[in-house]
Every structure is written in structure tokens, then in C-alpha cells.
Symmetry: C2
Subunit: 159 residues, 2 copies
């Protein structure tokens, strides 16, 4: 019961933050996404691509299958904004963002509470034996903060 | 054991995000704190005061005693930036920020894992009986996201 409860608390927070980010992104026009969140800083389109790629990478990290959008890694993970001239369109990124999150939600719904306390794929069995907090649920906790951090920046693009 | 592990995961995330925000704030000069995070948006000093007041309000919410800095509520909770002309100095806010977080950390260290699953003070016993996720640990989860959201904005002030 307690395990079920705190898995719910953690997943509720994730889904709330995704929904909040959706709302911010949906309220921005494609033109607004091309603006920098503050002078000289990342553009909205970069943050949208970055969040999408990071969420998509959660699939292999949580042992839920391969990335769906590894074509985004170069522009949005390996390089900073403006390093890659040719980016996917805003429409394409908006779709990838929704799909990546929907795929995660679908996989999450199939997990049993105890499954979340298994190791994630970036930690070895040996390490995990002494560091049991490096489990799948902890990925959700850290990625929720990552999402909030950038959502606060995307919100600055709203008129 | 699992309860202890989950509480550790949640508190580790909180402490990491506080440390990260500390680093951002400490790297900003008092002059930089007076700048808006983006044109027409909140100033750094407002976000510092807002985060401090919100963290300070966690004390009564977690049943850990009264607020220490309720003098900040009017300027940083009840009103938006620039509504109140006379704000505390940056030095005063920096100190209150450290003190509020240190007081929370001190109280957190005295909690037993199960204590975190008690209701917080903004939910009634009746509600809590059917909504057991509205516990003290859930306050930490939501405030960690709140902190990350604004830390992402404060980071934009760095040169």
C-alpha cells in the first residue's frame, strides 16, 4: 500500500508537470517559439526539442524500449542552441513532444509499483546493490525537476 | 526499508535543488538580482524573495512551527513584482533564504520516515482519510518542482 502510494505521488507530479508544460507550449505560436527566452539565451524551439529528446531517452533508460526520436539527439542534446542550422519544424517537434510523453505514459501505466524500484539501465547491478536509490522511480523524480526548470523558461515566451 | 528509501529519494532531490539554486543565487551580484529575468518579467530579487517566503511557509504547512519571515508574505506572495516599492535588501533576502532552508533541513533531519506520510496542515482529517497522498512528503515533491521552475528563470540572470 505505501509503495503504491508513493509511486502514485511521484507519477502524479510527473503527469502534472507534463500537463503544465503542454499548456505553456500549446499557448505559444510557432513564431514565439523562435524567440530566445531571454536575450542571448536558448530559443523556445531549442527547449522544446531538448525536452522532447530527454523524455524520449527515458525509454531506454527505464528499459522500456529504444528511442523513437534519436534524430533529435544531435541538435538538442549533443549541441547547444544555434550550433545546428537545420532544425526540425515546430510542427514536427510539437508532435514528437506529444508522442514521446504519450509513449512514456503508456509504459508507466503497465508498471507494477514494485517495478519502479528496479535499477535503471545506466547503473550496474554491482553499483545498484549498494545504491538502491538509483532505481527507475528516481529517474522520474529527477526528470520532473528538469522539466520544471525549463518550463519556467518557456513560460517567459508568453505574451 | 522501502519507505526509508523513498523518503531519502525525495529529500535528496529537494536538497540537490536547493544546493543548485544556492549556487545560482550566490553567483549573482546584488545588481544582477535587480534585473528582470526576461524583458517585462519578474526581477531576480522578487524570485529570491518569493522562493524564500514559499519555503518559509512550509514550516507551518509541515507542522514544524510558525513562519520565521512572515514579513515577506506581502511583497513576495500576496503581490506581484513591482507592486510594493520598498523591498528588503538583497543582503537581507540572501540571509533569509539560507536561514529558511537551514531551518527546514534541521526539521527534516528529525523526522522518522513514517512521519512524512502524515497529513499536512492544509488538509483536514476527513479529506486525508480518502486522499492519503496529501501528506507531508507530497509537499516536498511539489515544492521541489516549484523551486526548479524559478531556478531555471534565475539562471538566465547569469552573465
Amino acid at each position: 500500500m505505501t509503495t503504491q502510494l508513493f509511486v502514485k505521488m511521484t507519477l502524479d507530479a510527473w503527469h502534472s508537470r507534463v500537463k503544465e508544460a503542454d499548456k505553456i507550449i500549446d499557448a505559444l505560436s510557432d513564431e514565439q517559439l523562435m524567440n530566445e527566452v531571454a536575450p542571448g539565451r536558448n530559443r523556445g524551439i531549442y527547449l522544446l526539442g531538448h525536452l522532447t529528446a530527454v523524455h524520449d531517452m527515458m525509454l531506454p533508460l527505464l528499459d522500456m524500449g529504444p528511442q523513437q526520436f534519436n534524430n533529435l539527439n544531435e541538435a538538442f542534446i549533443d549541441n547547444p542552441d544555434k550550433a545546428i542550422a537545420q532544425l526540425p519544424s515546430a510542427a514536427e517537434l510539437r508532435q514528437a513532444w506529444k508522442t514521446a510523453n504519450a509513449t512514456l505514459a503508456d509504459n508507466f501505466s503497465k508498471m507494477q509499483p514494485d517495478d519502479w524500484f528496479q535499477r535503471h539501465t545506466a547503473v550496474t547491478d554491482e553499483k545498484f546493490a549498494t545504491e538502491p536509490h538509483r532505481n527507475k522511480l528516481n529517474i522520474i523524480i529527477s526528470r520532473t525537476s528538469h522539466l520544471s526548470y525549463h518550463a519556467g523558461q518557456l513560460a517567459l515566451l508568453k505574451k
